[in-house]
């Protein structure tokens, strides 16, 4: 902590941020990558030097993710999952941002960031067991550098700030990405995290997946003005990007992560998209919005937009599309099989997950619990 305070003191000697000449800070070089619609300019695209193969990988991951999302919905409708939160419409934001981070970087997801987990190589069938109620976390975060899904809104944001501060104190070049929805920006946790991130100048990219609906609450009832602009209030830059364009998200988050690694501090990326499906399978969106509200966003489908970009580069053909689609089918089936063959844990395993060295009283409770669960004699 002393080190961090030193750093802060050192920075206080510099001119304060957010003043009129803040255009000098490197945040604006990221803003300069974008046109008025928040889309990567042709010039910035050339400078970013993203290969056709990279873009094809992003496309492939988005198509696979979309198919897995559909299978999640199917499995819930078939009684195999307790709940499913569809992420259709988020593919560009999630895949673009997750793939922009280096493999050694860390990601702190929110509960809808399924595609990010897929990008990190976590078995989708294993992730699914969470939504079947079989486990609290299906992967070792250290192994994948991917923190657990967080269900309470916004609590992962301060976790990520603390973790990023640790990375900074360790003097390694790890950057951290934290995902959240626009609804999370209404929580106190988020504001505290934004403030601390700036004060301690941590290597963190805030990714707001703004899908414009916090369950049934529309964006206009959550935020006055733009979420991206809020970063300035804490003393660091932010930008709103077209969250349906994977190339833009990829390039911008990569630039923000590089910036963080150079020690230039946090950056806020607001990826504007739309939640085309229900909030979860327990939600009926027709009660608060109409088909007409959703329609304009269907033409901004992230997968279609990526296909168009590939076509413009002459890097897209039917054989490629077919192969990707087949891969998506196979992975959906594999996910289903993994999920349905997953073992139900012993109920008493709930006693094992809090204490490394459980106290005597807890062990006694566990023994009583197991005894109470024993099958009746003679049955």
């Amino acid at each position: 902590m002393a080190k961090a305070l030193d750093t802060k003191d050192a920075r206080e000697a510099k001119p304060p941020r957010g003043s009129a000449d803040s255009s000098n800070n490197s945040g604006d070089s990221i803003a300069a990558m974008l046109d008025a619609n928040g889309v990567l300019t042709a010039e910035a695209e050339r400078a970013a030097n993203i290969s056709d193969e990279e873009l094809r990988t992003l496309y492939r991951l988005m198509v696979v993710s979309r198919r897995l999302d559909q299978e999640g919905l199917n499995l819930q409708r078939q009684g195999e999952l307790g709940l499913w939160g569809p992420y259709a419409g988020h593919e560009a934001a999630q895949v673009g941002a997750a793939m922009a981070m280096a493999p050694t970087d860390w990601i702190f997801p929110y509960y809808r960031d399924f595609a990010m987990a897929v990008c990190r190589g976590i078995d989708p069938g294993a992730i699914m067991t969470i939504f079947r109620g079989l486990t609290h976390g299906a992967w070792n975060p250290n192994e994948y550098r991917f923190a657990p899904f967080i269900i309470p809104v916004g609590t992962q944001v301060p976790h990520a700030v603390g973790f990023a501060l640790g990375c900074k104190l360790d003097h390694d070049d790890t950057a951290v990405l934290v995902g959240f929805g626009e609804g999370a920006t209404s929580t106190g946790d988020w504001h505290e995290a934004m403030n601390f991130a700036a004060v301690f100048n941590v290597p963190l990219v805030f990714l707001c997946e703004n899908n414009q609906w916090a369950i049934s609450v529309p964006m206009r009832q959550q935020v006055s003005g733009r979420i991206a602009d809020r970063a300035a209030g804490y003393g660091f830059p932010g930008v709103r990007v077209d969250g349906t364009d994977v190339l833009t998200v990829y390039a911008v988050v990569r630039a923000a992560a590089d910036r963080a690694r150079r020690g230039e501090g946090p950056y806020l990326v607001e990826a504007l998209t739309y939640r085309t499906q229900a909030h979860t399978t327990s939600d009926d969106p027709t009660r608060y919005r109409t088909e007409a509200d959703v329609e304009p966003w269907k033409s901004k489908d992230p997968i279609r937009r990526c296909a168009e970009r590939l076509q413009a580069r002459n890097a897209f053909d039917d054989a490629f599309a077919q192969a990707v689609s087949e891969e998506a089918e196979q992975r959906a089936l594999a996910m289903r099989q993994h999920l349905l063959s997953a073992q139900t844990p012993h109920p008493a395993s709930a006693f094992d997950l809090v204490f490394a060295n459980p106290p005597e009283s807890l062990l006694r409770e566990k023994a009583e619990f197991i005894e109470a669960l024993e099958p009746e004699r003679g049955e």
Partner: protein, 470 residues
């Protein structure tokens, strides 16, 4: 062959209503192919098939209510397809219990951990031999089971409620086969056993009784049996001359709403007849005029306009009672609900901000909403948020007037009866003039009779001198 049981499609839902089948018996289906549409209390949902194979049986018809965990469809699975993995998990065994519900599931036989039952001899010994009192009087004693082991049946698995009911009715639970999870005896099982006992009663009464039935006792017995039959109907059994209509969805919602209106709002109703001569003439003149063109022009838009004007004069009629704050909340926007009869039942589409609309705009909006409601295409948001409601009691039949129920949480509902020629006193003579009855029901917590009467006066005045409405 695999049965697919209806899963919990939301969080903690107990039933769903089948809207339509998308497949038929004999049809081959693929994994995830949509099978049917069901409506839950939360949403209209497509159910994808968990198996690939051939449809063997559909277990419900459109309109049926299906309990969560009960069979929906039986599919003969196609060979050893990749989908068969799912079959083992979602399919039911013979008993109809399977681990189909994740998190909220019915307890299936596959479950390894069943709670150990408390075989408490204490329960049965502590049970008073309550049946003995009844046994002295064959009239009120159900047949033999009561004479067997202790009433209540300590060994059987049942909830405290069921045990108490069994004791009260002198039924030995060990003689009942439970259909609940792990053979647990449910209230329904007890009722079924009770019904069987009741129907067996007449012969046993004759055999065991040491005295003849008096006439009064016999009729009392008959009435009791009839009552039990009707209770049985609620639990699933039906008399031959009865028909059961399930009430999921809209009917259930109407039932709950009207129960709330009738039991939580202190209503009073006032009536008045108005002379519609001028209104009829105005409507004739406006019909086909430039503002309305081809559009259908009924009296409804005039009623809405008159209501808006009367509310402007008496804003308290456009309010609701705040239960928590014990306060009256007056709404400055007037959103008029139009009670509309549809094939699905009563719907109340809402003309929003009626106070900002012209007669022609109201006519257009009302036509649009009513058409959508009748076609079943209206959006949920067009059915909420009304602040005052109109019901056309004369629209469906030769009804002059009625005492309408308030649409909670509103303060007032206005009913318009059939508009037709009526004997009307004009000066000293009686003339035949068009007229209609208006009835208004108010929440007496908010409005007193005098205010309602003044509001009625304003309504009548605007309808009798309607020039300002156009």
């Amino acid at each position: 062959m695999s049965q697919f049981l209806l899963p919990d499609l939301g969080e903690g839902l107990e039933e769903a209503q089948l809207v339509q089948w998308l497949v038929q018996v004999g049809e081959s289906v693929t994994l995830n192919q949509p099978l049917c549409q069901v409506e839950t209390a939360k949403a209209l949902v497509d159910i994808p098939s968990p198996f690939a194979g051939t449809v063997e049986k559909l277990h419900a018809a459109p309109g049926d209510t299906i309990e969560v965990g009960k069979p929906l469809i039986t599919i003969a699975e196609a060979g050893a397809t990749a989908a068969s993995a799912s079959a083992t998990s979602a399919s039911a065994n013979e008993d109809g219990h399977g681990p189909v519900l994740v998190g909220y599931g019915t307890e299936g036989p596959a479950q390894t951990f069943t709670r150990r039952r408390r075989t408490s001899s204490a329960t049965s010994s502590a049970t008073p031999p309550q049946a003995s009192a009844a046994a002295t009087d064959a009239l009120s004693a159900p047949p033999s089971p009561a004479h067997g082991g202790g009433a209540g049946g300590g060994g059987a698995s049942a909830s405290p409620l069921v045990r108490k009911m069994a004791q009260e009715r002198g039924i030995d639970l060990t003689t009942i086969k439970g259909t609940g999870p792990g053979g647990r005896i449910r209230v329904e099982d007890l009722e079924l056993a009770l019904k069987a006992a009741t129907s067996a009663l007449p012969s046993s009464a004759h055999g065991d009784s040491r005295r003849a039935l008096t006439e009064g006792e016999a009729s009392h017995r008959l009435a009791e049996e009839a009552e039990k039959r009707s209770e049985g109907a609620g639990g699933g059994g039906l008399a031959p001359d009865e028909e059961r209509i399930s009430t999921v969805g809209l009917r259930k919602a109407i039932a709950a709403r009207m129960m709330k209106a009738a039991t939580t709002i202190p209503h009073f109703t006032e009536y008045s007849l108005f002379d519609a001569s001028a209104l009829v003439a105005l409507r004739e003149r406006l019909r086909g005029s430039s503002g309305f063109g081809e559009q259908k022009l009924t009296y409804l838009p005039f009623f809405v306009r008159a209501l808006v004007e009367a509310v402007r004069a008496y804003p308290v009629m456009n309010s609701r009672w705040d239960e928590e704050g014990n306060a009256i909340v007056i709404k400055h926007s007037i959103h008029v609900g139009i009670a509309t009869d549809t094939a699905r039942g009563l719907l109340v589409p809402v003309i929003r901000d009626a106070h900002t609309l012209t007669l022609a705009q109201i006519a257009a909006e009302a036509n649009r909403l009513i058409t959508l409601a009748r076609e079943g295409k209206i959006e949920a948001k067009s059915l909420t948020g009304s602040t005052i409601t109109i019901t056309n009691v004369g629209a469906a039949g030769p009804v002059d007037t009625g005492a309408p129920l308030i649409n909670p949480p509103e303060a007032c509902v206005v009913g318009f009866g059939a508009l037709k020629p009526r004997p009307t006193v004009v000066g000293e003579s009686v003339q035949v003039r068009p007229g209609a009855w208006i009835s208004i029901s108010c929440d007496h917590r908010i409005v007193d009779g005098a205010t309602a009467a003044q509001f009625m006066g304003a309504l009548v005045q605007h309808l009798e001198q309607p020039e300002g409405l156009a």
